[in-house]
Symmetry: C2
Subunit: 148 residues, 2 copies
């Protein structure tokens, strides 16, 4: 469920083209476990494809989020950060954010319990508010070991 072939198919299916910038961005995000910002992605892709513009980075990231291939996060440092959507490479997980240094830890313990709770909540909410839940985000804030 990754690689140029699958991507091409996925793009075609939505009526989009698989271009070099798009491929390069997907490749980069497939290889890292970090939560990269647009500018960080720009710097990295620029090394292998110097013609790329920051505008294209932003546009591509929007597109990939809209296609469900990426997730967009705000960890409070003034810029959006992105990672491959769950199921594509990593499992569903949540984040610990160090409020001192900004370090982000992926965390996936208690996923079973969590999914159970989330299911309950979703059921109750759809009844109570007629609200159809598509996704959720859970973040913990605190102090990492280095910053203590």
């Amino acid at each position: 469920m990754s690689g140029p072939h699958w991507w091409r198919h996925r793009f075609r299916g939505c009526g989009y083209r698989l271009t070099f910038p798009r491929q390069a961005i997907l490749e980069l995000l497939s290889k890292t476990s970090k939560h990269l910002s647009a500018k960080e992605i720009y710097s990295a892709v620029h090394k292998i494809y110097p013609a790329i513009g920051l505008t294209t980075i932003y546009r591509t990231l929007d597109l990939l989020v809209q296609m469900g291939l990426l997730k967009k996060f705000d960890f409070g440092d003034g810029q959006s950060r992105y990672e491959l959507a769950s199921g594509i490479k990593k499992n569903h997980h949540h984040h610990l954010v160090c409020v001192k240094c900004g370090k982000i830890i992926d965390y996936d313990d208690f996923v079973k319990e969590e999914i159970e709770l989330v299911k309950k909540v979703e059921e109750a909410l759809s009844k109570k508010y007629n609200f159809e839940i598509k996704d959720h985000k859970i973040q913990f804030y605190g102090i990492c070991s280095k910053c203590k």
Copy 2:
């Protein structure tokens, strides 16, 4: 646990002054159940105190967050939104965000179950990563009844 007296005391305790702008912002946020942006707060306070500047709004919001009186949220509409911290007026709760119209619903069902899970998670995380958790945020994204 609110009103000018308590606020004054709280400010003095931190070595700050209780000024009119600060009081006006606190009063506004005490009266609303909405999640207001800096500009919305500015507009509202401006009506009763036209001399106020947007800069002061931002500075005051930062201060109040830092003092623990407010919580700051990012619901993905490009600006920060604020509400009184839990315990001051409302109970601990989380948010449903409509990804179509931006509507935000406060939700506090299953708080007991949730707190239990959070406690478990916090314990495990502090052991596993030596990470000291101070706070958490949970948000659900979906489609509200009107937007269906």
